[in-house]
């Protein structure tokens, strides 16, 4: 084991860690925001919207994230030159960056997986509780905010933690579209120092720390939500 390269590359790893964390948290945030309506319309209807949501989940869960990412980034990119006006438009500075594509691709994927989870979660809340809420005169939105969503989340937090960990471990895919997170920096070290084990082990170590952090975070969340026995 030779670790003499570590001090030299440590600042790059710190930058990479920041990129990894940003991509991860933004994707989880936007993905989850999307997952709520995707799950909900499959339970409440209207039927046609439910079908669209189900189709969306099937499509995005059924295809590799890497392909979605490339279709979005390189696929769209190959179309750009045919719209010359685009380069002068206000949106061009965003289209040029790789990061927004990664956030969109990852969020859509998270939305599909978590949307599927949320559908089950919404279904699992006993009808009686919702009826009780209505009896209190709650509006649909208040009912969702105060009763349905909290109760649904309570049931699926451990599952969502698992999804979050899987998303974190998909982040290395973004290195294929020039977003160099922790993994990307590791591959630079590998190719510049010709060391294989040490950089890979180091990257693995960082990921296991991040995973640990996510697990702890979700456990803390679970503890904040009172469980059945505590009620």
């Amino acid at each position: 084991m030779v670790w003499d390269w570590l001090p030299e590359y440590l600042p790059k790893f710190v930058d990479g860690l920041w990129v990894t964390l940003q991509l991860f948290s933004l994707s989880i945030f936007f993905g989850f925001l999307l997952a709520i309506p995707i799950g909900l319309v499959q339970v409440t209807g209207p039927k046609w919207l439910g079908h669209i949501a189900r189709g969306y989940c099937t499509l995005f869960r059924g295809t590799p994230l890497l392909i979605q990412l490339w279709l979005l980034y390189y696929g769209l990119g190959s179309v750009f030159p045919y719209y010359p006006g685009l380069r002068e438009s206000f949106i061009w500075p965003i289209l040029v960056e790789a990061f927004p594509y990664a956030v969109v691709a990852f969020s859509l994927s998270v939305a599909a997986y978590e949307g599927h989870v949320m559908k089950g979660a919404f279904q699992s809340v006993p009808k009686g509780e919702l009826q009780a809420g209505r009896a209190f005169g709650m509006s649909n939105f208040t009912l969702l905010r105060r009763v349905w969503l909290p109760r649904a989340l309570q049931n699926v937090l451990p599952t969502l933690a698992g999804e979050a960990v899987l998303t974190l471990k998909s982040v290395p895919l973004a290195s294929t579209i020039t977003i160099f997170g922790v993994y990307g920096v590791g591959s630079i070290v590998r190719q510049e120092t010709y060391r294989v084990y040490e950089p890979l082990l180091f990257v693995g170590f960082i990921y296991i720390c991040l995973t640990g952090l996510i697990v702890v975070l979700f456990r803390w969340l679970e503890n904040r939500v009172p469980s059945e026995s505590q009620l």
Binding site: G77, S78, P81, L95, F180, I188, Q191, E192
Partner: protein, 256 residues
Amino acid sequence: MKIIKSILAATVVAAGMSTAANAEVRLGLDSSNYEPFYSRSADGNWTGWEIEIGDALCAAMQEDCVWVPIAWDGIIPALTAKKIDAILGSMSITEERKKTINFSDKYYNTPAALIAPKGLSIESIDDLKGKKIGVQVSSTHSNYVEKYLSDGTDVKIYQDFNDHNQDLFAGRVDAVVADSLALAPFLESAEGSCCEIKLQLNDEEVFGIGVGAGIRKEDTDLLAKFNAAIAQIRADGTYDEISKKYFNFDIYGGSN
């Protein structure tokens, strides 16, 4: 296995014949094709840029030469065992190889090139301030960009050579730094027609010295002859005349 055996047999026969002639200089090259430098045509003759250069060198040295194909991994042992007299097979000059054999002066060094859309005006690397530059991860080209262009430019690192070309076409990067030879097919493609070579980049420290003729340590006479011949064909225009047929950039790379 049979193919390897027949190549070996051919090599032995060729080596044997030329030993008998003895006056000939036996030029060793890789037995597999390396286009556009050398390849075997359908009639069994070797053709390509390096073959023409080698023949021109021999003419300048006033020597008779014969080409001897040898499996690449055995080409230095073949030289030291006197089965050939010189390696003329696109062998890069490296410190490691210099421990075993001598090298003539370089006779080519595929330069790195900076390509950019035709409309963009780039006269020198100073014009790249504020531009986005694509390079492949951990290549000599990314080392060059890090050395000269890391200040004031946005460097995007790609895993794959084709990906940065794709993004140059898409307009996500303003310029790409890569090997001239590797870029040539892209520039000839429909997508690559957007762009052209703006700068030829030379730096021996980053890109290496280039390719020279490998010669036995003790053959100092032959080494001197090769160096003189390289200088001669460079000076009399033979080199450029041959190169023009194969490349639309300066394959010699650098001005010396």
